[in-house]
Symmetry: C2
Subunit: 489 residues, 2 copies
């Protein structure tokens, strides 16, 4: 028995007997893990997946299912959208930086069409329908949607807008309506198991095992308290997810998320990151976070969003995740939505009404002066904002923030405001530094022999910004790379 309470590596000489063996061992059966397993198996490796819970899926299976793909995918082309890898790259460099891994973004954009074909060939279906309404996700299983503010200011001036959020179709009538993420994971898990990939559920990785040259050659895992030594003949792939639920890491790296994790699962405890750190692995962008904003986009576009001082700060028609980041990170999580009665009624009658609408506004008033007083804002703070917005809105313009003309109209009366302070939650984007072959990079700059990683335990495409589909996107893309590289290792 070794001490499984520490993340320190164990020397192989201390392992008296290996309980299990495989060429490639994958820790975590979410999106990165399943893609790694498929590619490793296809490359001729015997593959063993270790999954902490009782089933496949990870956070991916609970997600909306966006995969960020572009550069001219068949779905984009069929639906009439032009895109090129260079155009996609230009957008991502602007939206995900500063400090992005430029080589990774270029690589990802150039490989995106091939990756689309690979997903389709492995059973992931996309329905040929575009959803163009403001929203977080399509209401049904429309296959394509803007998911990063590509068609909103300032990005619509920097690169040709193209929707790149690809959502798997709800294909299987027998399982009823499931999330897009589930419909992504299901065919991939079936593919993996069809290729002979073995899985051990309820099995949790505890330590890495290294040989005398510091090469990773196995792992110590536990299943129902029993310790098991697993030999990895060629390599181990870490695909254990983010650190959104590890309090110490959240406090130390991404403290704005204290008390507000979301879109992650409790198993996301950063274990993969810590195991690799103990081997000297390098990290990147540990402060980066996705931030969800729980305002309804159909309301947002029709009103004006103001901060705790009553000032506008972001075009209301952009990607809601961008609104979330701006609100949490730059506005101290203070936001109010101001909307007039006419626009509110119009939003209520749209086909995309969500449960949010059933909440009444926090304040309603006959005049802006009355509203700002009820909200507790200083006199004239909100009035000045509305007056300036209206001055230009009567010409259909928003020179301050560039909201698109189709959503710009003067704010009339009576009007109301929604209190959206603290309306955010998020998950972490930072993690292990990996190269284009998903090898975990040591702080010396060299790869750590035998160790690979993908998904949210790594720093992927995002340095600070985010687009929906980036996580399932880089998780699947670099999961594949990890499987291929580990099998060859």
């Amino acid at each position: 028995m070794s001490d499984t309470s520490t993340v320190r590596p164990l020397r192989a000489s201390a392992v008296t007997e290996w309980d299990e063996r495989a060429d490639v061992v994958v820790a975590g059966y979410g999106i990165a893990g399943v893609c790694a397993a498929i590619e490793a198996a296809r490359a001729g490796a015997q593959v063993l997946i270790l999954e902490r819970t009782g089933g496949w899926g990870g956070a991916a299976a609970m997600a909306g299912g966006f995969i960020y793909l572009g550069g001219g995918t068949p779905l984009q082309r069929t639906l009439g959208f032009e895109d090129t890898p260079e155009n996609m790259e230009k957008f991502l460099l602007a939206a995900l930086g500063p400090g992005v891994d430029k080589a990774k973004i270029a690589d990802y954009c150039r490989g995106s069409v091939e990756h689309y074909h690979w997903l389709v060939a492995n059973g992931v279906p996309f329905r040929e329908a575009f959803w163009g309404e403001p929203g977080w996700e399509p209401p049904h299983d429309e296959g394509l949607m803007y998911s990063g503010g590509e068609n909103a200011a300032p990005f619509n001036q920097l690169a040709k807008p193209a929707p790149r959020g690809h959502v798997p179709r709800y294909a299987d009538k027998r399982i009823g309506r499931k999330s897009g993420g589930y419909m992504l994971m299901k065919p991939l898990a079936e593919t993996a198991e069809g290729l002979g990939v073995q899985v051990r559920y309820d099995t949790r990785i505890r330590r890495l095992v290294v040989d005398d040259t510091d090469r990773v050659v196995g792992a110590i895992v536990t299943r129902f308290g029993k310790e098991i030594a697993v030999r990895a003949e060629r390599g181990i792939v870490l695909a254990t997810g983010s650190f959104a639920y590890e309090q110490r890491m959240i406090e130390g790296y991404a403290p704005r998320l204290i008390g507000r994790p979301a879109a992650a699962i409790e198993e996301h405890d950063g274990i993969g990151i810590r195991l690799a750190q103990a081997l000297g692995a390098d990290l990147a962008h540990m402060d980066a976070t996705e931030v969800a904003f729980f305002g309804d986009p159909q309301l947002l576009v029709r009103g004006i969003l103001v901060n705790g001082r009553g000032q506008r700060y972001i075009p209301e028609d952009t990607y809601p995740g961008r609104i979330g980041q701006a609100t949490l990170l730059q506005q101290d999580n203070q936001a109010y939505l101001v909307i007039d009665e006419q626009s509110y009624e119009e939003a209520l009658t749209t086909v995309t009404a969500t449960p949010f609408f059933r909440q009444p506004p926090t304040w309603a008033a006959e005049t802006v002066a009355e509203l700002e007083a009820e909200m507790g804002l200083p006199a004239q703070a909100l009035q000045a904002t509305v007056d300036t917005y209206n001055l230009h809105a009567q010409d259909g313009k928003d020179p301050l923030l560039g909201k698109k003309p189709e959503w710009v109209r003067p704010i009339g009366t009576p009007l109301a405001a929604f209190d959206m302070r603290g309306f955010t939650a998020g998950f972490t984007l930072g993690g292990l530094r990996t190269d284009l072959d998903s090898r975990v990079v040591h702080v010396s700059g060299a790869p750590i022999a035998g160790l690979f990683a993908a998904g949210r335990c790594t720093s992927g495409l995002c340095a600070g910004g985010y687009v929906s589909g980036a996580s399932l996107g880089d998780g699947s893309f670099y999961g594949r790379r990890a499987g291929i590289a580990a099998a060859k290792s």
Copy 2:
């Protein structure tokens, strides 16, 4: 010869001969290093400092010299300011968070008065004078000043304001006017050398040496290309400074600082952090940065500071470093100072005029409407801001941001604006996670045997916010702890 191009640790068994030996080896002769050396020597250890440059001082000797001290220091009391450790702690928890190391802040506040006495006893002089004017630093060698926005909103409502920026006196006529940082380092370096501390200049740490139990027992260093093995019988203290000049780390952790390092020296290449990471050391707050703002506080308080949308965002009378952080991190580095002619003339005649004043305003105009047009802002954007400000200013109030009444007056005409976009620079605050004894903490949570660290290669008091004096403060305070712990190790 070992490979000195890698930061990987070397096994002691690979060292054929030790060229130098000491009980405690200190890497870096800045503020943390000198304090570690003094305390280690006093605890009976033979101490050897390895310094990469040709002299003592590090970044500290070039700094303004603020040391953040409080809780009722003799200087505070003599100058009529009440303070307690609890009051100081309350302020720092609010100003430096979220995500601060609460134990470290409590410890630092409780030890602050003793630390003041220690500095004085070791030759650091403080002149009994308070400087109360807005500014970055006192114009001469006044010993005490507000250096963190303690007396500005919102902190003046959260804790009793007390100035805590302690600046060493320019005591030595022979050396002319030197920075406060130099006057801090000089007596401490003299104290260290008086205690028999040995120093090797032009000597650069390259690798750590560990024994078979992974305890740090020495270092491989180079001097003019020659490789030297240094044995540390009790421990090594890393005091090598920040990573402000390591491009890869800046891009990976603190990308907002790309192209704008300041208040650091080129030797700040993160070497101490990387050497310890290679041993599995844990990190914290790698994104945190001090941010300087190159606007003159005497102008700032008399005008209004607006962002790229013409909106106010911070009380202009707060600590300029807080303005810098808000501008770079929350306003995309976009700022303009708007000031009327009367206030500008008044600022010009103050005794604290700085070279900044010799730059004329970027734009001048007879009306706000004309000014905003010249600045390229949308019509009514700046007018709305000025009108709202003036409405309350005529009553001496600033309900939006809480600027103190003494600086609040309506903006008149004619008026002018200074273009302050990109007026920031900074240095990094993140680094190794250390405990209260300055032991470097492994990612497993246990200390790394034989390894200690202090100063800006560690994550100290600051999780995201900053106050001037925090770096020389925690560097000196935890430098002492490192020396004591290493000597006992």
